[in-house]
């Protein structure tokens, strides 16, 4: 999993890390049970404050995406949806609304937008499958 910071995105750095790790988990680049990079080397590599990385990990932990095992580090949770179904839906609604607003401004029509969602779901599913196949070969 390679993380990148973009200072021009306007998004706080710790949230960029949170997003990228969530994406890595969704695409299978980071698999359940796998370790996340330790705070110090990651901070050095990205040349960001260690508090920033620690804040991202705390956020991911409170979202139920990762867990911290004392003395061993942070790991992607086996089943990383600790949140109740309605809360999960609510969180997703916010994101979807943003995408719909964006689609409106970019003049992407409804049908095309829905098509794009299907397309992206396929792409992520393919990625995940490819990552799983790779894992099987490793074993």
């Amino acid at each position: 999993m390679i993380l990148r910071i973009n200072f021009k995105s306007g998004m706080p750095i710790y949230l960029q890390l949170v997003d990228q790790i969530k994406t890595a988990a969704a695409s299978g680049a980071l698999r359940p049970g796998e370790a996340l990079p330790s705070i110090r080397p990651l901070a050095e590599e990205l040349r960001v404050n260690r508090n920033t990385v620690a804040k991202a990990y705390t956020e991911l932990e409170s979202l139920g995406v990762i867990e911290t095992l004392p003395g061993r580090g942070c790991f992607l949770k086996e089943n990383h949806s600790a949140l109740r179904k309605e809360i999960r839906r609510k969180l997703l609604t916010v994101e979807i609304d943003q995408a719909i607003v964006q689609a409106h401004h970019l003049q992407v029509p409804r049908e095309e937008f829905l098509e794009l969602i299907h397309e992206r779901m396929h792409v992520l599913a393919d990625k995940r499958r490819a990552n799983e196949d790779y894992k099987k070969k490793e074993v």
Partner: protein, 297 residues
């Protein structure tokens, strides 16, 4: 004092060299555990401010406090709490690197030998080399080792990377992140003055821009990047007459328009959108771009 636990508290500090005012009525507060940037052009008053913190200069007006202590009255106690990398590093030229570090360690109640060894190897320094024959980069590396190993609560860096090559600069910052920020999170505090802002961008939580001795802007880094946005719009014909008073800078070039927004990005964006631009984009300014935008306005 609004908080007795502030790592650094500067209140209405003024200092003049003869009639030349270097620092004028400067106030800032650094909370413990933060990495605080002091940004300014050459001669803006950064070094004078730092010298007042270190009791190398006495404030002529106002006051400074380090963890609540007055450096002019409790110099020893303050020096025990901080370490310092100056912009011009000077060692006794006849001493070897080893002797230099042993000499500096003798003033310190605590010295992390393990960190010293790791950094020695990392930088590829020769302990037997005479300090007088070190390159500028190597001198800074030795000064950094000497500043990191005592593991003080406050690390003060004055223009630490200016004049160094890009590799040494990179290693310097990695060392500050890795070795210095070790231990209890939120405990170690860093104050860094620089005009090479880009390199410290990720490290800095909060900053003050000073110009001609005065604080011009103090902000949290994430908030700053959210507030200062560059908006670009391209229209089919030459841009309509728009009310863009909310923008910090406006540049027009043919059918294109470029704005720097300070906090009013969303409104400006919406305003532009109503005139149906062909293209409309926005990005945050980096801290360095904010610095330039502020000092040029």
């Amino acid at each position: 004092m609004n908080s007795p636990t502030s790592a650094i508290q500067i209140e209405n500090l003024s200092y003049a060299y003869g009639r030349a005012e270097a620092v004028r009525d400067l106030s800032l507060t650094v909370q413990p555990g933060r990495c605080y940037g002091l940004f300014g052009r050459n001669g803006a008053g950064k070094t004078t401010t730092m010298k007042c913190l270190l009791n190398l200069l006495r404030p002529q007006r106002g006051q400074v406090r380090i963890f609540g202590l007055d450096p002019t009255k409790e110099e020893v106690a303050v020096k025990r709490l901080l370490s310092y990398v100056p912009d011009q590093v000077a060692f006794y030229p006849w001493m070897s690197v080893r002797e230099t570090l042993d000499y500096l360690a003798s003033f310190r109640p605590h010295w992390n030998r393990k960190t010293e060894q790791e950094l020695f190897e990392h930088f590829g320094l020769d302990p037997a080399q005479r300090a007088g024959s070190l390159s500028k980069g190597q001198r800074t590396q030795v000064a950094l080792i000497a500043a990191v190993c005592p593991e003080t609560d406050l690390l003060v860096l004055d223009e630490p990377t200016s004049g160094l090559d890009p590799i040494v600069r990179r290693e310097f910052i990695e060392t500050v992140i890795g070795a210095y920020q070790e231990g209890i999170p939120g405990k170690r505090t860093i104050l860094v003055s620089t005009h090479l802002i880009t390199e410290f961008e990720g490290l800095i939580d909060q900053f003050t821009i000073i110009d001609r001795g005065q604080a011009v802007l103090t902000l949290d880094s994430d908030q700053a990047r959210e507030r200062y946005q560059r908006i670009r719009a391209r229209f089919a014909q030459s841009p309509p007459e728009l009310d863009l008073k909310a923008a910090l800078h406006v540049r027009r070039d043919g059918r294109e328009l470029e704005l720097i927004a300070n906090g009013a990005g969303l409104e400006l964006l919406e305003h532009l959108r109503q005139h149906n631009p062909e293209a409309l984009s926005t990005e945050s300014l980096t801290l360095e771009e904010i610095f330039v935008a502020i000092l040029k306005s």
